[in-house]
């Protein structure tokens, strides 16, 4: 029994930093996640239920924030799942007065079928596929820098001031093509030049080096969709 607990704790600590280990742990504890979800929604969860997705996400949050001082991991994860489901329930309750587009009318026709759709589904699929291609390309290029998207998400600046400093550095690199070329050639972020050119603390840029790798790669040629998505930032616009 103790060995199982120790093994679980070891897996949890390993999953804190390794995304693949986290995926494996979540997959191995899917019955536990489903049981906690079923306890909340009073029925067995289906794979397409939002509650199950939220419960899996809460389990991942529990992995990230667990500490030995907080007691048993499964108890902690169960509490985390319950809290997340309660939050989601309250959020959904706020929009309960709204009519769903999937609501059938008297003739058994859904409401969404009566609304004219201006979106072109084929065009959207094409854009999505192009975006996927860009993301795959970006991920592959990031691997050459030893950086994954999960790492970038963990290393992304949280405070607005830090984010502004990083964006200022990115804008400076875009205005100086030599810096981007040096970055692609050496596969190292020219922290010193960026800090000197933007009067930013070198330490600030150093702490968010992996994030700068991802954004600087997006700024290079070949990632038009993603660059268009963050164009406002790249132009130096206000961050909302």
């Amino acid at each position: 029994m103790d060995q199982d607990v120790q093994k679980l704790i070891k897996q949890v600590y390993e999953a804190k930093t390794d995304s693949h280990a986290a995926d494996e742990l979540i997959a191995s504890y899917m019955p536990f996640i489903k049981s906690e979800t079923a306890r909340f929604i009073n029925r067995p969860p289906q794979p397409e239920d939002d509650e199950l997705s939220i419960a899996m996400f809460a389990f991942y949050e529990a992995i990230r924030s667990y500490s030995k001082l907080k007691g048993s991991f499964l108890s902690f994860a169960a509490r985390q799942i319950k809290n997340r489901l309660i939050d989601n329930y309250r959020k959904e309750k706020r929009s309960r007065g709204l009519i769903s587009l999937d609501t059938p009318d008297e003739d058994d026709n859904e409401l969404i079928d009566t609304i004219s759709d201006s979106h072109d589904e084929y065009e959207e699929n094409e854009i999505r596929e192009a975006t996927q291609a860009e993301i795959r390309e970006l991920s592959a290029q990031m691997e050459t820098f030893g950086v994954s998207l999960s790492d970038v998400a963990d290393n992304s600046p949280k405070q607005g001031r830090t984010l502004a400093a990083c964006q200022k550095a990115v804008a400076y690199a875009r205005s100086h093509p030599g810096i981007l070329e040096e970055f692609l050639r050496t596969k190292r972020v020219p922290i010193a030049k960026l800090a000197e050119g933007t009067n930013t603390e070198r330490k600030t840029l150093e702490r968010h080096r992996r994030y700068l790798v991802a954004v600087l790669l997006i700024c290079t040629n070949g990632y038009e969709i993603m660059r268009g998505h963050i164009m406002q930032v790249l132009k130096g616009g206000e961050i909302t």
């Binding site: 991942y60 854009i127 963990d154």
Partner: protein
């Protein structure tokens, strides 16, 4: 805000928002490249770190508590061991004062006497009990010849707690029994229980010769006995200087007979009106008008015997002023001289014949039949200060 789904995992998805922020969110059946608008974002790991102010306050509180504990402990040690709570004064050949702490241990020894200072220098008293120190001091004095067997030693205990005083008295009396000395212990300011034939040497004590010169008779006639005049005429004054001073003041307060006769008002009536003296003044009453009149008896003129000089009229002094002047004169006569107690000056027999006793007047007012026209021409009211 729109998010592009960058990566999908079993428990989460990586999204990129329009501010180029990469975030993790719940994977609600997302696919990579999808644009979403309302994701469930991962909560930041809110590790509760104590604020700096609270940390500083805690440190200050800890320091203050430490200081308070240390101060309390220090004061407790000082109160128990170093603060003088009581003192024992050994009145022997060398007057030595032992200052005791609350436990009764000697913390310091003082003496104004050179012999006592010499003993203190040679003797280590620190940390010893009062009985041990007192016994050692007396033994040292006996060894030095300052005391001999059978000598009387008086000890005075001065303490804040009356219960302690009794305990110390008992302890000292019991503890000093082994010594061949006549030891009496009493509270400071109290009369010793045992009469001591050998008075302690007190520097301000009046010389015995002067005492012998002082006549005892005037004091007795004055009605106020002198210090120890009844029981112990030769007993020395207690060592309490305040008490001594008090008794010294009271002793001469009794108006000696000569002074009394000096300031006594002489009969104001001349020889022809001697049989009709004015009534004695009563306290509080205004005296009779001083202005000479037909009914008013004239004060005896000093030159009454001298027929050549006219009798000077008595000055028109107001009664109160006259009282004050008389009181001043009496007070001056009563005041003891500085230093040793002065004996009252005996009367001059030739100038001041003895005044007959007036048993009816409790104030010892002068009799109007005893005029003294020579020295006291005007003194109508004199009983005020005397009463």
């Amino acid at each position: 805000m729109k998010y592009i789904v960058m990566e999908c995992h079993g428990g989460y998805a990586v999204l990129m928002d329009e501010a180029a922020r990469f975030v993790k969110a719940a994977n609600r059946h997302y696919t990579v490249g999808q644009t979403v608008t309302d994701p469930i974002l991962m909560e930041e790991n809110k590790e509760k770190t104590p604020s700096r102010n609270i940390t500083v306050i805690k440190r200050f509180a800890a320091a203050a508590a430490s200081i308070a504990v240390f101060a309390g402990a220090s004061y407790g040690y000082y109160y128990q061991n170093l603060k003088p709570h009581s003192s024992v004064i050994i009145c022997s050949a060398s007057d030595i004062c032992l200052n005791l702490n609350k436990k009764g241990h000697v913390i310091s020894v003082t003496s104004d006497d050179p012999a006592g200072e010499a003993i203190i220098r040679e003797y280590n008293y620190k940390g010893k009990d009062k009985l041990k120190v007192a016994g050692d001091i007396l033994e040292i004095e006996m060894a030095k010849g300052m005391l001999s067997s059978g000598d009387s030693v008086r000890m005075y205990v001065d303490t804040e707690d009356p219960e302690n005083c009794d305990v110390y008295k008992t302890e000292l009396e019991d503890g000093m029994k082994g010594l061949d000395l006549n030891i009496s212990v009493c509270e400071i300011g109290a009369q010793p229980a045992v009469s001591d034939p050998v008075p302690p040497p007190i520097q301000d004590q009046p010389a015995p010769e002067k005492k012998d010169e002082a006549p005892a008779k005037p004091a007795e006639t004055a009605g106020v006995p002198g210090p120890g005049s009844e029981n112990h005429p030769d007993a020395p004054a207690p060592p309490d200087p305040a008490k001594d001073g008090h008794k010294d003041k009271e002793g001469p307060a009794a108006p000696p007979q000569p002074a009394h006769s000096d300031d006594a008002p002489a009969p104001a009536a001349p020889d022809d009106k001697a049989e009709d003296p004015p009534p004695p003044p009563v306290d509080g009453d205004k005296p009779a008008p001083e202005a000479p009149g037909e009914d008013t008896p004239q004060p005896p003129a000093p030159a009454a015997k001298n027929d050549d000089k006219p009798t000077p009229p008595s000055p028109p002094v107001p009664a109160e002023q006259g009282d004050e002047k008389t009181a001043v004169r009496l007070t001056a006569a009563i005041q003891p001289p500085a230093g040793p107690v002065a004996a009252p000056i005996p009367p001059e027999p030739n100038r001041h014949p003895p005044v007959p006793e007036q048993e009816g007047s409790p104030d010892n007012l002068p009799a109007p039949e005893a005029p003294d026209p020579i020295d006291h021409p005007v003194a109508p009211e004199a009983e005020g200060p005397l009463s």
